[in-house]
């Protein structure tokens, strides 16, 4: 392993390899395990409450009605108020095919407020809030920023933290909220941008060739978005580019690395954080 670098190992969705993703069990388990960082996703209910979920909808395979029945249709979280979401649905009580060894625990959806309370026990843990703005499926970026940041600022946690976002307009909304409220916001923009209409492989190859030719790089992507850094999938990370990005004062996070050899190799790279479903592999 190279010397001189020590990226924080973050528990992806609260270590989805061990517990149901973005669940209460995962968050509390990761805090209890003392992992270096905690990565989780937030969406808003119809009454504006941030709750933990990767997608803007209840996961069709991992969530059920509170009676244990399959959902049968896509249910958007922004169409449910918190009381209904908590009373009528459970998630994590079904084996996750992507993480078949993870514990199976049926729970109500965890709120951001609950997580902020739990974080009091982990003042050094890096807090990585990931937010995805999908026009038409999630509230406007400004609404997202206000609901999340008001709560986070009120919690007054000492933890290092940042927010990552899939779209520049979401980064901008968080940075604007910080400026308006005199609160330092550290933001990352996800790069490259994957879209449902284009295959991930084509996006990655196009990005790779553009990067190799020098017409796109992580610094310019972060600058254009007004972000403090970039969040990059491991498949496209370039070590020299990461080095130059950090040298110019930008933060680099790499996701989602579940191979032990690669996880250990990346711990010697000039990056700030590496996200994994299995943080124990890095120990």
């Amino acid at each position: 392993m190279d010397a001189g670098y020590d990226p924080v190992v973050e528990a992806h969705r609260g270590a989805a390899g061990y517990w149901p993703q973005n669940s209460r069990a995962a968050m509390l388990g990761s805090i209890d395990a003392g992992y270096g960082g905690l990565e989780f996703d937030l969406v808003l209910t119809s009454d504006g409450v941030p709750v933990l979920s990767h997608d803007p909808w209840l996961h069709e395979d991992l969530c059920t009605t509170s009676g244990g029945d399959a959902l049968g249709e896509r249910i958007f979280i922004q169409d449910l108020d918190l009381a209904t979401l908590q009373a009528d649905y459970l998630c994590g009580g079904v084996v996750d095919p992507e993480n078949p060894d993870a514990e199976v625990v049926a729970e109500t959806t965890m709120t951001f407020d609950e997580l902020l309370e739990a974080m009091v026990d982990a003042p050094d843990m890096l807090f990585h809030i990931d937010i995805k703005y999908e026009p038409g499926e999630t509230p406007a970026p400004e609404v997202f920023a206000a609901e999340v940041m008001t709560r986070f600022a009120d919690a007054d946690l000492p933890n290092p933290w940042f927010v990552s976002a899939n779209l520049p307009e979401l980064v901008l909304a968080f940075e604007d909220w910080g400026d308006a409220n005199d609160f330092e916001v550290d933001s990352l923009v996800t790069w490259p941008r994957f879209t449902p209409d284009t295959s991930d492989a084509m996006v990655a190859i196009g990005n790779e060739l553009g990067s190799a030719a020098g017409v796109v790089d992580m610094v310019s992507v972060a600058e254009a978005a007004g972000a403090d850094g970039v969040s990059v999938p491991y498949q496209v990370i370039d070590r020299q580019l990461a080095q130059f990005t950090r040298n110019q004062g930008y933060f680099v996070a790499v996701w989602t690395v579940n191979d032990q050899a690669m996880l250990q190799a990346l711990q010697g790279w000039p990056i700030d954080a590496v996200v994994t479903d299995y943080p124990e592999l890095a120990r």
Binding site: A213, D217, E223, D238, A261, A265
Partner: protein
Amino acid sequence: MIVASFSLALLLLAPVADAAGVRFQRVDLISEVPGTFVNYDLPMFAMNPVTSGLRWVEQIQVVVDLPVDGLSTGLSLGAQSLFYEQPLVESAGLSWGLGLQTDLLLPKGFLADASWRYKRLRIGLGGCITSGATWANPNWSAWQLLPTVGVGIGRSAAKND
């Protein structure tokens, strides 16, 4: 596919290049420019083969001699270089060289190497100092020095072969 298209294009352009005094010299399967493949991508091959494979293709460099003694230019998907090379110990096939690396003609870094030629094989060892400048971010404030290894196959070492 990319390599095949590239080779076909070179074949078709060969008569034009010949008329301009440009002559094919070699193909570097492992290129010293930009030098990141051997240092960073090759060690990751077992863990991330698709990306490492793509980066290998990106760095394959076709080198052609220019109509000035010792001057050549290299072209790959990832970089272009202008290189000046002179014999060090001619009988032993040893040379020294200095080069300029560009990204779509944006000056990016410098290369110095010593090379050895045997028949159609060229092996180079040297160092490459590369900046973080790109067309998207033309900033030459950050630099990195890397050792380089090059392996090329081309025209026979004997001049006018």
